[in-house]
C-alpha cells in the first residue's frame, strides 16, 4: 500500500515518540474525536507508547455508538412490521434496540442486508420494484455525501421504493457540547481528518476561539496520530490555542465543494438526539422537504420516540470523556461484547469494548521496550 507504508514507518514513529517524551512536562487530556482514530490507537498499540503525561479520551466520533435507541427501533419496525428491506453498514447490526438489534430482526425473518455503499441499496431497489428498500443512513459528514448521492440517484431514476432513514450527525456541534459541559476535562482535540476532508476547516476556528483549546485536524495512521498529539501537546505546553492541520496531504481548507453542495441540496441541519448524550442543537442532517418522498419517516409515517432510560448505563458520560468504562455498574457484568448494554461495547473501537479487552488481561499491557 503506497501512501500508507510511510505513515507506518517504525523509525518515524520512534522519532515522534521520543520527541513527545521530551516535549511533555504537564498533565494533558486530549480527545480524539473520531472512532477511526480510536481504532488505530488501539490496533497499533499506540496508547502505551505515549508519555504518562498524555491521557487520550475516546470521543463521541463513532456514528454507531451515538445512534439513538428510538432510531434503531424504527429500523427494526421497518424490517419486522413494514416488511421493508433495510440496508445498513455492518457494525450497526449488533447495536441493541429496545426489543431487537437489526441482527436479531434478521434472525427473526426480517430482510436486513449489509452494504459498503448506499448505491448498492439503490441498485437493489431498481432491480426489485416490488420491495420497499430503506437505507439506514448512519454516519458523520464523511459518509453523508454518499448517502445524499444515493438519494439523488434514486430521485433521478424515479424510484418509488427507495428511502433513507437518516441518522446523520455533525461533529463540530458535538465538540462544542463536550467543551460546554462544566464537567469537561478535555484540554485539546484531535479533530477527525476525514470529516474535514469534506467540510473543510471553517467550523473549527469558532471552537478554538470560543473555548481556547488547541484543535489539530489529524489523520489515522500511526505517524499521523502521534504527530497530531505532538502538535496539540506542544501548543498546550506553550499556552497556545490554535487550529492546525496535521492532515494537510488530504484536507484542504475549503473541504470538498462538490460534496458540500450535494449535502446542502439533499439535507437540512436539524437538532439531533445523541445516544447517551442528549439533544445537541443543529447537530444532525435530515432529508429536505423537497425529497420527502425519499424520507423513510415520511413514507412510512414513523414517529420519533423519546430516548428510553439508560438503565444505569453510563455510555453518555464515557462518550463525553467524563467517566472511564470501568466505572459503570454493568461493565464486564451484564455488559460485554457478546451482550452489549450500551453502544460503546458493540463496535471494536467503542471505548467500553477497548477497555473490556484490556481488562481481560491479567498481565499489565505495558511493553518492556524503550519507553516502557
Amino acid at each position: 500500500m503506497k501512501f500508507l507504508s510511510e505513515f507506518r514507518d517504525p523509525a518515524l514513529v520512534e522519532r515522534l515518540v521520543d520527541e513527545l517524551h521530551r516535549t511533555v512536562r504537564g498533565q494533558w487530556t486530549l480527545m480524539e474525536v473520531c472512532g477511526g482514530q480510536t481504532h488505530s490507537l488501539v490496533k497499533n498499540g499506540l496508547m502505551d507508547l505515549l508519555p504518562p503525561g498524555v491521557r487520550m479520551v475516546h470521543g463521541p466520533g463513532c456514528p454507531v455508538c451515538v445512534t439513538p435507541v428510538p432510531l434503531i427501533d424504527l429500523a427494526v419496525r421497518l424490517v419486522l412490521q413494514h416488511g421493508a428491506t433495510v440496508f445498513s453498514f455492518g457494525d450497526m447490526l449488533r447495536v441493541p434496540g429496545t426489543s431487537h438489534s437489526l441482527a436479531q430482526a434478521k434472525a427473526a425473518g426480517g430482510d436486513v442486508r449489509v452494504v459498503y455503499s448506499p448505491l448498492e441499496a439503490v441498485a437493489f431497489a431498481k432491480a426489485h420494484p416490488e420491495r420497499q428498500v430503506v437505507f439506514f443512513a448512519v454516519g458523520f459528514e464523511t459518509t453523508a455525501p454518499a448517502n445524499a448521492l444515493a438519494l439523488v440517484h434514486a430521485h433521478r431514476e424515479g424510484l418509488r421504493n427507495f428511502s433513507l432513514l437518516a441518522s446523520q450527525v455533525l461533529v463540530p456541534p458535538a465538540m462544542a457540547a463536550v467543551l460546554a459541559d462544566p464537567a469537561s476535562t478535555i484540554q485539546g482535540f484531535l479533530a477527525a481528518g476525514h470529516v474535514c476532508t469534506i467540510m473543510g476547516l471553517d467550523e473549527y476556528e469558532s471552537i478554538v476561539a470560543r473555548f481556547r483549546v488547541p484543535v489539530v485536524v489529524t489523520g489515522f495512521e500511526p505517524v499521523d496520530l502521534l504527530h497530531g498529539i505532538l502538535m496539540a501537546v506542544t501548543q498546550l505546553e506553550r499556552g497556545e490555542a490554535r487550529l492546525e492541520n496535521q492532515y494537510a496531504r488530504v484536507v484542504r481548507p475549503e473541504g470538498n465543494p462538490d460534496a458540500r453542495r450535494v449535502l446542502r441540496d439533499v439535507f437540512r441541519v436539524a437538532d439531533r438526539e445523541w445516544r447517551g448524550i442528549g439533544t445537541i442543537p443543529a447537530s444532525g442532517l435530515e432529508v429536505r422537504e423537497e425529497f420527502a418522498d425519499f424520507d423513510a419517516k415520511v413514507r412510512f409515517g414513523l414517529e420519533d420516540a423519546p430516548e428510553p432510560s439508560s438503565g444505569g448505563c453510563i455510555a453518555g458520560r464515557v462518550l463525553r470523556g467524563q467517566a472511564r468504562p470501568t466505572e459503570c455498574p454493568h461493565f464486564g457484568q451484564a455488559c460485554t461484547p457478546l451482550t452489549p448494554v450500551g453502544a460503546p461495547m458493540v463496535s471494536s473501537e467503542g471505548a467500553c469494548a477497548a477497555y473490556w479487552h484490556v481488562a481481560q488481561a491479567p498481565v499489565p499491557l505495558v511493553r518492556g521496550g524503550r519507553h516502557g
Binding site: 499506540l46 455492518g90 473501537e349
Partner: protein, 355 residues
C-alpha cells in the same frame, strides 16, 4: 420452474447417460429410485472409484492397525464457486486438514450431499469433479456417501458433509495442554486469502490483482513436520473461521499460556492486505482454508521451519512468535511500530466498520 419439471430424457428409462448441461436437480433425484441411480451414476460413481464405494452398499468395511483419528464437518458456503475453488475442494480439504491437525494422514472419506431442487447439474458436476480431483491428488478415497434433495428455497444449492479416517503418525503427540513456555509459534503460510476471495465475490468487488482462495490439503506438510520433529510438535490447529487471531486466542486460553506474536512477522500478500484495509477487516480474523498454526518446542523451531518449507503447501512457513512465561492465557501482538495490543477471541462474525 417449468424447466425442472420437464420430463428428463431419463424417463425413457433406457440410458443412464448424462442428461446434458441443461438439466437441474429435481426432487425425484432424491427419491431412491431410478432418477437417484441415474444422478449417482452420472455425478458420483463416474468420478469416485474406490472399490468400497463401487459396491454401492450402505457403508464401507475397513481395516486399520493401530490408532486412527476420526473427524467430520459440514460445508456451507455462498457462493458455491469462488475464485480458487468450489465447495467441493473445501469439503475434501477441510476434513483432510482436520485429521492432519490431530497428527493423522487421511485415508478414507465419506461424502454426504444435500442438494437443493433446481441446482444446475452442470454446477454439481463441477463441484464433484473438483472434489474428486483434489481427493485423488491427496491420495484420499471416498468410500461411502449419501445424497438427499431438499425443496427449492430450503438450501443454498448444495451442502456437503464429509467425515474422514486417518492413521495417526507414529510420533504424533498433539494437545493444547502440551503447549509450553518458550515454544515457537509457526504459521504455514500467508493469511487471509480465502476470506478475501469470498468477500470480493459476495460484494462484487474487482481488485486489480484478484485474490484466490488458499484451499489446500495440509496433511503432507504436517507429515513432513512430524517426520522431522515428532513429539516436539506440541500443538496444531488450522486457522479456518475466525482466522489466525481466533485460533491463537483459543489455544492461549486452553493451554493457560500467554503468547507473544509480532505483527511484522505475519505473512500476508500485498493485495490481500490492501483489500482488508479497504474493507475494514483485520486480516488476523479473516478465514483461511489452507493455513495452520504449529506450536513447536523452541529448540526445534529451525528444523520445523526447514521441514515445512520443503513440504508441499507450506513453502511460505514462518515463525510469528513465542509462548511466554506468564500464565495469562492472552495473546499479545507487538505492532509494527512497537506498540502492543491483545488479540482477543472475536465475539461473533467480523462486521465491516463504518469509519
Amino acid at each position: 420452474m417449468a424447466e425442472t419439471l420437464r420430463p428428463a430424457p431419463s424417463m425413457t428409462l433406457a440410458c443412464p447417460a448424462p442428461t446434458g448441461d441443461g438439466g437441474h436437480v429435481i426432487m425425484g433425484h432424491g427419491s431412491g429410485g431410478l432418477l437417484s441411480q441415474q444422478l449417482l451414476d452420472r455425478a458420483v460413481f463416474s468420478r469416485f472409484r474406490a472399490a468400497e464405494l463401487s459396491q454401492r452398499h450402505d457403508g464401507a468395511v475397513l481395516a486399520f492397525d493401530g490408532p486412527v483419528a476420526f473427524s467430520t464437518d459440514g460445508y456451507v458456503i455462498a457462493p458455491i464457486e469462488f475464485p480458487g475453488g468450489t465447495i467441493g475442494e473445501l469439503a475434501v480439504h477441510g476434513t483432510i486438514n482436520d485429521l492432519a491437525m490431530c497428527g493423522a494422514m487421511a485415508e478414507v472419506l465419506s461424502l454426504g450431499l444435500i442438494l437443493e431442487e433446481g441446482l444446475p447439474l452442470s454446477t454439481l458436476d463441477r463441484v464433484l469433479a473438483a472434489a474428486a480431483g483434489v481427493g485423488d491428488a491427496a491420495g484420499v478415497h471416498v468410500v461411502t456417501g449419501a445424497t438427499k434433495v431438499v425443496e427449492r428455497g430450503k438450501g443454498d444449492g448444495i451442502y456437503i458433509t464429509t467425515a474422514g479416517i486417518g492413521r495417526v503418525h507414529r510420533r504424533a503427540a498433539i494437545a493444547a495442554t502440551r503447549i509450553a513456555t518458550g515454544d515457537a509459534i509457526l504459521l504455514s503460510g500467508p493469511i487471509a486469502a480465502h476470506g478475501i476471495a469470498i468477500m470480493s465475490v459476495r460484494e462484487g468487488l474487482a481488485f486489480e490483482t484478484p485474490t484466490v482462495s488458499d484451499t489446500r490439503a495440509l496433511h503432507r506438510a504436517v507429515g513432513a513436520l512430524l517426520d522431522a520433529c515428532g513429539e516436539a510438535v506440541h500443538c496444531l490447529r488450522d486457522a479456518t473461521r475466525g482466522g489466525v487471531g481466533a485460533v491463537l486466542a483459543e489455544l492461549a486460553q486452553q493451554g493457560g499460556r500467554g503468547m507473544r506474536i509480532r505483527q511484522t512477522a505475519l505473512p500476508i500478500a500485498e493485495e490481500v492486505d490492501g483489500a482488508c484495509e479497504l474493507l475494514g477487516l483485520d486480516p488476523l480474523y479473516v478465514a483461511n482454508e489452507g493455513v495452520f498454526v504449529a506450536i513447536v518446542d523452541g529448540a526445534h523451531a529451525d528444523a520445523a521451519l526447514a521441514a515445512l518449507r520443503a513440504a508441499p503447501g507450506s513453502e511460505g512457513a514462518v515463525r510469528i512468535g513465542t509462548v511466554a512465561d506468564d500464565g495469562s492465557g492472552q495473546v499479545l501482538l507487538e505492532s509494527a511500530i512497537g506498540g502492543a495490543r491483545i488479540v482477543h477471541l472475536p465475539p461473533g462474525e467480523q462486521l465491516p466498520r463504518i469509519c
